[in-house]
């Protein structure tokens, strides 16, 4: 996933991730144990963590399900991007 970083964030710690995601550090650690993100944390790690928690809360997933959903959504993003860039397809999905 290519991302234009306009405000580059320094390398993240668990505390930094907790701050940026609005989550309790224990929740962040739990999601790290489940393998949602791993150090060195990518720039969108906080967004991924928050996404998992929102999915869990609103769709009633457990954390393992939410981690899976976040993974799958990220892969869909990636594939849509590749599809859009493939020369046979000048059009963008959606």
């Amino acid at each position: 996933m290519s991302l234009v970083i306009l405000h580059p964030a320094p390398r993240m710690s668990v505390e930094g991730l907790a701050r940026d995601s609005g989550l309790h550090p224990d929740t962040v650690r739990q999601l790290i144990r489940l393998g949602l993100v791993a150090p060195p944390f990518p720039d969108d790690a906080a967004a991924q963590l928050a996404r998992a928690v929102r999915l869990r809360r609103d769709l009633g997933l457990n954390f393992a399900g939410a981690v899976l959903a976040v993974d799958l959504l990220a892969r869909i993003d990636e594939l849509e991007l590749r599809l859009a860039r493939s020369p046979s397809n000048g059009r963008y999905p959606r």
Binding site: D26, G65, A84
Partner: protein
């Protein structure tokens, strides 16, 4: 406080005598479709807020009765705050301009009237089962057993990221700089385009996504760049290609001709005598900006053009040429 004037039953697409099961099923289906983390369209989050608010009221017998009786003003008309509002603690701060108040209030109330219960327990658990193919008969009890993460009182989370597409011409993407961008919901922004941005890249507008919950930060708005096809220039990797139309005699005899540049300027290139269509003339450093500050190349590609109509004399000269020349392009390699 309502998200919209829309009737809660209409919002969920169920009849007024729908059973609790029907309401829950409708909510789940719509939530999967409009959840802002699944559907990144900025309009989806408003729709999801509406669905959540409707579900939050209609799933609760007491609230539903009050709503059936008093309609839109059910909250004011029914005595005292509901259990969700009472247990919510910091809930009122969630009230945003887009009407997220009911949205947040609903979350605070999810733990049930007990106050301080963990978030997302109870019948939420069986949604997981139905999403991922487990059985659902015993799921209610299973859901109860699941441990929540943060307690409801301290619960907070960052808002979702929204995504929209920003169309740029090649010139705009090349130049970069400030540009006005309007979202479908009417909000508009001055966006700083990094020079040399490419198709599919995202520009992040920090804090312009969905609002956070419980004091969590807002999400970001991601603008995905789509480069519009250009009538002249084509972007190929770091290089730009442009057709260079030349007359047959210019191609045969050689000529210096103007080439348009992506920055709006013009360069002059020498077409050597004997150039056929497809010959690529390189203009170094006139291509697309690369990360390291260098630029790719511009390739002007010779394209021999002939007049649609020939004058009498042109025809005569071409005929003469045809008689004199023994050139056969089909035997060339």
């Amino acid at each position: 406080m309502a998200v919209g004037a829309r009737d809660y039953y209409d919002a969920l697409g169920v009849s007024r005598d729908a059973s609790t099961d029907e309401i829950r099923t409708a909510y789940r289906r719509l939530a999967r479709e409009y959840h802002p983390d699944v559907n990144s369209d900025p309009g989806a989050s408003d729709r999801f807020a509406e669905i959540s608010e409707a579900h939050d009221v209609l799933r609760d017998d007491e609230k539903r009765r009050a709503y059936d009786r008093y309609g839109e003003n059910w909250k004011a008309a029914s005595a005292g705050p509901g259990p969700g509002a009472a247990g919510g603690g910091g809930a009122p701060r969630g009230g945003g301009p887009q009407g997220f108040e009911g949205f947040d209030g609903g979350f605070a109330g999810f733990g049930g009237g007990g106050g301080g219960g963990s978030v997302g327990e109870g019948d939420l658990g069986d949604i997981f089962e139905s999403l991922f193919g487990g059985g659902r008969a015993s799921s209610r009890a299973g859901g109860r057993r699941r441990r929540g993460g943060a307690g409801a009182d301290g619960f907070s989370v960052r808002g979702s990221d929204h995504e929209a597409t920003i169309d740029l011409t090649l010139e705009e993407a090349f130049r970069g700089g400030s540009r006005r961008f309007q979202l479908s919901d009417g909000r508009d922004y001055d966006v700083t385009i990094p020079p040399g941005v490419r198709d599919g890249q995202r520009i992040r507008l920090a804090g312009e996504g969905g609002p956070g919950v419980g004091g969590g930060p807002s999400g970001d708005l991601m603008l995905r760049v789509r480069l519009l096809p250009h009538p002249r220039f084509r972007l190929v990797g770091n290089d730009i290609e442009v057709d260079l139309p030349v007359a047959p005699w210019e191609a045969a005899l050689g000529e210096t001709v103007p080439v348009p540049l992506i920055d709006g300027g013009t360069a002059r290139v020498k077409v050597k005598g004997g150039s056929s269509s497809g010959t690529r003339l390189r203009l170094k450093g006139e291509g697309w900006p690369e990360r390291d500050g260098r630029r790719g190349n511009l390739y002007a590609i010779v394209k021999i053009m002939v007049p649609k109509k020939l004058s009498r004399q042109e025809r005569k000269l071409f005929q003469e040429l045809a008689e004199v020349s023994d050139f056969d392009p089909r035997t060339q390699t």
